[in-house]
Point group: C2
DNA sequence: CCGAATTTGTTCGTATGTATC
DNA sequence: AGATACATACGAACAAATTCG
């Protein structure tokens, strides 16, 4: 027996609205996601007001109770906001833009988009380089590297979670300098690297795992954008290899391609 | 009289595994996502074999049935593959790399990574520009634009779904030329644009909606990477504005930052 | 080749959550 | 609000295929 069965055809209304029963996601959650997506288009009017619940129920082809469950979840997430007698409204918060280019500086990434930015050292350690890290940094497998785990916040909300590796022989005190300066760029400058460039950036997207969920304050099923970046000094020698996780609903990456090499 | 056994929720186990009940996403789907994420690490051994269902159930803190539902879903997606008496195995398929830079050409994107590449025109139409499209292409809101919906395949598997807009006055016959050449680059060349550059690329990630699910052959809960791109001619005049959706488990974006401007 | 251990596949039953009417 | 049906999850078997000593 298959637990994911072939169910009876759902009502045409559900199909039309793109909803499905028995796929492991409750209708109200699918509708919540649908409303969230709709906000990017023209679901809400100029004043940020959504259509009445009865109308939404009709267009999604479900009972009004189901729409209410979806709205309640979104209200709990801080996306919507209902007022009895008036309607349901969007609480708009812009997605932060993280620019990527040869001059990408982590510390400057979200400049001017949030009142308050913080960086936090969560963990660090010295360890033999994995094959991936060794290859990226041009070291032998098993040579020692220093690992830094950092959390970035904007206005108190976690927006990035980075794991970075540095050669332990070239930057033996990077942990201490980072603790003082709270900045990779400043730390590298103290250690004699006055300039560096972003050589390449890989971008993937995946579901948040447990660590992401905890550290970035996400709900299960949330999506993280993962960048895999290599920074090199002006001579082209690898300096820093890092993975950074961004909550996909709070952050957008922008590659200014034509100026990327400047 | 029958004693009704009361099963206590092993809440601690669930929390340890990062699962939650009652959030509108079934446990089996959360576990499916967990397994998918685990494959990137060391969930499967060298031979691609996963731990037995009973062991997974223990580590996730759920019943074996629940793990089976998750595995069944992943098997249906083509990620896993179970054999009675032997175990459950990973069906490994490399993720395609889509490079992004100033010289990004859609047609050349996946060159050399697949034996067979196809492009398909799904739909097209003429319509007044939305405010977003108008702003990107430097047109007045409501000026007519031509919209092309295309599907990209590699070895028969859908890998991209693009919606592109062009000025209807500057490129009135773009649909016909595309139908002939099956290539945006070639179409533009026929219409007098011998060269163009990728000005900027925005990257977001979100859950697949119904259209994505159908057209890209995804399962619900799957993730799509969405790029928002603007191409300009050598004079800097906007030519093409497009949204492209990539299945996140089949495609990875790579920005070769230092050569991006070449 | 035999038989035991391992692992996936199947079928009961029961309880709880979700959605409709 | 209550009745009904479907969906999710747990528990305890047992069957069938594979592996291995």
């Amino acid at each position: 027996m298959t637990l994911v069965k072939e169910w009876k055809l759902p009502k045409e209304d559900l199909q039309r609205a793109g909803l499905q029963r028995g796929v492991g996601v409750a209708l109200w959650r699918q509708i919540a996601d649908g409303i969230r997506a709709g906000l990017a288009n023209d679901l809400a009017d100029e004043t940020g007001r959504l259509p009445p619940e009865s109308e939404l129920a009709l267009s999604f082809g479900v009972n009004r109770h189901t729409v209410r469950a979806a709205i309640s979840a979104l209200a709990h997430e801080g996306v919507l906001h209902s007022v009895q007698g008036r309607g349901t409204f969007v609480r708009r918060r812009k997605r932060l833009v993280y620019p990527i280019g040869a001059r990408t500086r982590f510390s400057a990434g979200f400049d001017g988009q949030a009142r308050d930015r913080q960086s936090e050292l969560l963990d660090h350690g010295q360890e033999p380089a994995s094959s991936q890290v060794a290859e990226a940094l041009g070291l032998g497998t098993g040579e020692d590297v220093l690992r830094l785990e950092t959390l970035g916040k904007a206005d108190g909300m976690p927006i990035s979670r980075a794991t970075s590796w540095f050669s332990a022989t070239r930057f033996p005190t990077i942990v201490e300098t980072y603790r003082e300066t709270k900045s990779i760029t400043a730390s590298l400058a103290l250690l004699g690297v006055n300039d560096y460039l972003r050589a390449s950036t890989g971008v993937e997207a995946r579901h948040a795992d447990e660590a992401d969920t905890n550290e970035l304050q996400l709900s299960p099923g949330a999506i993280v954008l993962v960048t895999r970046a290599l920074n090199v000094d002006p001579d082209g020698a690898p300096i820093q290899f890092s993975f950074t996780r961004f909550p996909a609903d709070r952050v957008e990456l922008v590659i200014d391609t034509m100026r990327a090499g400047e």
